[in-house]
């Protein structure tokens, strides 16, 4: 991606340099050729030229449209992650970057990723707007309180890269910096294996789901006062209002913080708000847990043990990856 951005950048530099040089050349040439030689001299009559006016309106317009199309195409790709991504969550707060890997591993101001894999970050902020900026990847996206933004990259070279906060966020704005550590796959595996024993993010979410008593209403058997959440992520949910929404991260978040905003059809607005009771990171764990709840097959009511097996163990059903880097179908594809 960096190469594509640079190609357009240098095209723009070339076009700009061309125009600056041409304009400067004309100004200097006319400036010398037509300098005032006698006091009281005046300029000569010049016939206006409609053709010239049209030419220097149309040519910049055409060039501009080329630049637009080229830039838009890059942007389109920048905002569309591939189907298979390694998912990581990021939470910005004054003044640090917090990362949560799916295997439960947490980092602050350091992000470890493997080389050559598409990494998708889903981010939000605990307080004010921050902006996740890795210059080497030509990549930037604001993290905004109250909503999730995503960005993705595929690092092609191992190394350590600057991570900056690019949106002014207060006193230590320039201290809200970190490092993206891109590692060879085997080193990355070793790094992953060195994680703490907290269990996967989804299993942390499952524990919260029990501690916060979510489970008393959102029962897997569908007999609770709230809807069963198995298979809900990525599905279309009919609401009491008659609307239909896609249950994405933003919907789950809203349903936890402002439950009465979008009530699923057939349910009462009984759920209390969890605003102020759960942190952004706990929200992400809960969401990750809900994502892990696959649809119920009648024959196997508890098909998917929440959170999956411990990190490092292979999951035959999903191939050789550990859950921390399991590949997920991108629901927004």
């Amino acid at each position: 991606m960096a190469g594509k951005v640079d190609a357009l950048y240098f095209f723009l530099v070339a076009v700009s340099a061309f125009f600056v040089i041409v304009i400067a050349a004309f100004v200097i040439y006319f400036g010398i050729r037509y300098r005032r030689r006698a006091h009281g001299e005046v300029g000569m009559k010049v016939v206006p030229s409609l053709a010239l006016e049209i030419a220097w309106t149309i040519i910049p317009l055409g060039l501009g449209l080329v630049m637009f199309a080229w830039g838009a195409q890059i942007y389109f790709n920048q905002t569309r992650p591939p189907a298979e991504t390694l998912d990581i969550y990021v939470v910005g707060k004054q003044w640090m970057w917090k990362f949560q890997h799916l295997d439960g591993r947490r980092e602050i101001n350091e992000l470890h990723v493997p080389v050559g894999r598409a990494v998708r970050l889903t981010g939000t902020s605990e307080d004010v707007i921050h902006s996740f900026f890795v210059p080497a990847f030509r990549l930037k996206a604001d993290v905004i309180p109250g909503r999730y933004t995503t960005l993705w990259f595929n690092a092609t070279k191992a190394g350590r890269y600057h991570l900056f906060c690019a949106e002014y966020c207060g006193t230590k704005h320039s201290g809200m910096v970190g490092t993206v550590v891109v590692m060879e796959p085997n080193e990355y595996q070793a790094w992953l294996a060195g994680g703490g024993g907290e269990g996967s993010l989804a299993s942390q979410g499952q524990k919260l789901f029990q501690d916060l008593a979510c489970i008393t209403c959102h029962r897997a058997d569908g007999q609770g006062r709230g809807p069963a959440l198995e298979g809900v992520f990525g599905s279309r949910v009919s609401l009491n209002s008659g609307q239909v929404v896609v249950a994405d991260e933003a919907y789950l978040r809203e349903s936890i913080l402002s439950p009465s905003a979008k009530i699923a059809a057939g349910f009462q607005p009984l759920m209390p708000t969890f605003q102020g009771l759960v942190s952004e990171e706990q929200l992400l764990a809960l969401i990750e847990y809900v994502k892990s709840l696959k649809g119920l097959a009648p024959s196997q009511p508890a098909a998917d043990t929440p959170g999956g097996p411990a990190p490092g163990r292979t999951t035959p059903a999903r191939g050789p990856q550990s859950p921390s880097e399991r590949q997920r179908q991108n629901p927004k594809k």
Binding site: I23, W70, K172
Partner: protein, 534 residues
């Protein structure tokens, strides 16, 4: 040259005493009141800029504390944008010359004009009060929820100051629109008007239409800070990005409030010092209006990384490329005006040529920011800082200084030493480029803006930038000295020291209180240089 006599009575000596200035309704005196006020604000903003550049000499934040640094760039932005650049050319030269250039005795609403100045001063004092009692640290952009939730500085005092200043812009804009519509002298048709007036007209339209949105936005911030109404802060159910939409709906057109007047000045100066009519007059005139109209439709390009929808971003991107076209048309027409002219290089012309160079670079680098894929990388970096300084300092301030030097003899009746003027113009141009060109490179390397401390690999370019800033400072200091000197010791200017066309050059310098003894009748288009006897 004929011996020139200073007129015996003119607007400056018609009345004496403080009261005669503070209660004046003479558009020329009000212009000078604005000149005095904004010059002080410019010095203040310049001091903030100097401290910022000093801090950035070294990578760690070692000169001032981080909070102080954040306040410095905030107050630099607020003072320069709202208290210098936005009023600059319209309030000083517009006030002084709009009536004269259309052959009128004053603006349509002289007392409203004086009110504009008092409103401006009231707002300015509010903002000054916010500065001296601890300052503001939100950035001049006041982004929420930082400004509503997080900042403990004098946000509301400063914001109220800006809110008040806005009404000054609205009233001045209204005054100009009505004046240009209704008070043109006989024969002064729309297409005989000097292009400075077209620029003032376009600017006034933006002032009247856009400034209320800024007022509404500030009011909404106040409601949220004071009453916790959920408008922008997600904690109260608001949307922080809504603020950015509202803010840039004003503040992008505000860029054109700053640059269009300078373009108008450049048209006057290029014509006068090439002694030629502006090539493609109507194209230059209508490009001002086109910029004013398109300028309202591109605000979203400030928010391409703020979670905007992909297709929304594409629409704002393509519109941003469109708004570049009328600016390009102006540059081409100015260049073509030089062809077969009789070009002299007195001070105003050097500023105007400097403007063309710097504005061209500023405009072309704007294409990088309109271009989505590149904007993602360079937005919120020093690339943006460099780009908008090329427009606002390289463009607007070069235009302002060009206009000030062009009309200074008319305003004061005295000449300044042209040699020093030319030296200052060249020093400013060189210092400016040394200050801001390295910042394009810094931005592409990834240095974010508003950083108090930065990684060591960025130091060399920052040192260059600071060195340039000190040269630029000298470039601004020289005119301050010789212009003040000229008030007493300058040679007598006479009616028309440049041999320029235009109604303002047909009356004495300084002009009499009511400008014209009898209403002039206009019989030829603007810039009819070529028809004159040699």
């Amino acid at each position: 040259m004929d011996t020139l006599a200073f007129p015996r009575t003119h607007y400056l000596n018609a009345e004496y005493g403080l009261k005669s200035w503070l209660l004046t309704t003479d558009h020329k005196r009000i212009g000078l009141l604005f000149l005095g006020a904004i010059s002080l604000f410019f010095i203040l903003g310049g001091i903030f800029a100097g401290l910022i550049r000093l801090e950035l000499l070294t990578p760690p934040g070692d000169l001032v504390s981080d909070d102080t640094y954040n306040k410095l760039f905030t107050m630099h932005g607020i003072v320069m944008v709202f208290m210098f650049l936005i009023p600059s050319i319209p309030a000083v030269m517009g006030n002084f010359f709009v009536p004269i250039m259309i052959g009128a005795r004053d603006l349509a609403f002289p007392r409203l004009n004086l009110l504009s100045w008092y409103i401006f001063m009231t707002g300015g004092l509010f903002t000054l009060y916010a500065i001296v009692t601890g300052g503001v640290d939100t950035g001049w952009t006041f982004y929420t929820p930082f400004s509503t939730l997080s900042s403990h500085s004098n946000v509301m005092t400063a914001a109220i100051g800006i809110f008040i200043i806005g009404f000054s812009s609205i009233l001045t804009g209204l005054n100009f629109i009505v004046t240009i519509h209704t008070m043109r002298a006989p024969g002064m048709t729309w297409f005989r008007m000097p292009l400075f007036l077209w620029a003032m007209y376009a600017t006034s339209l933006i002032n009247v239409l856009a400034t209320p949105v800024l007022a509404i936005t500030i009011f909404a911030v106040a409601l949220e800070r004071a009453l916790h109404m959920g408008i922008f802060d997600p904690a109260y159910g608001g949307d922080p990005v809504l603020f950015q939409h509202l803010f840039w709906f004003y503040s992008h057109p505000a860029v054109y409030i700053m640059i269009l007047p300078a373009m108008g000045v450049v048209s006057e100066v290029i014509a006068a010092f090439s002694r030629k009519s502006i090539f493609g007059y109507k194209f230059v005139a209508f490009s001002s209006l086109a910029i004013a109209v398109f300028g309202f439709l591109v605000w979203g390009h400030h928010m391409f990384v703020a979670g905007m929808s992909v297709y929304g971003a594409m629409i704002f991107s393509v519109l941003s490329f469109l708004v570049a076209v009328p600016s390009a048309v102006k540059v081409f027409n100015w260049t073509a005006t030089l062809y077969k002219g009789s070009i002299s290089y007195q001070t105003p012309m050097l500023y105007a040529l400097g403007f063309i160079g710097l504005f061209t670079i500023g405009g072309l680098t704007g294409l990088f920011l309109a271009s989505l894929g590149v904007d993602v990388h360079v937005t919120d970096t020093y690339f943006v800082v460099a780009h908008f300084h090329y427009i606002m300092v390289g463009g607007a301030i070069m235009g302002y200084l060009g206009g000030l030097h062009y009309w200074w003899p008319k305003m004061t009746g005295r000449m300044y030493p042209d040699m020093w003027g030319r030296v200052a113009a060249v020093v400013t141009f060189l210092g400016f480029n040394l200050t801001f060109f390295p910042q394009f490179v810094l931005g592409y390397m990834g240095m974010p803006r508003r950083y108090h401390a930065y990684p060591p690999e960025f130091q060399a370019l920052n040192v260059l930038s600071t060195a340039g800033a000190s040269i630029m400072g000298i470039g601004y200091l020289i005119p301050a000295i010789y212009l003040l000197w000229s008030l007493k010791y300058g040679a007598i200017a006479g009616n028309n020291p440049w041999g320029a066309k235009g109604l303002e050059w047909e009356i004495p310098s300084p002009p009499p209180t009511f400008n014209f003894d009898k209403t002039p009748v206009v019989t030829e288009p603007a810039y009819a240089y070529e028809t004159r006897e040699k």
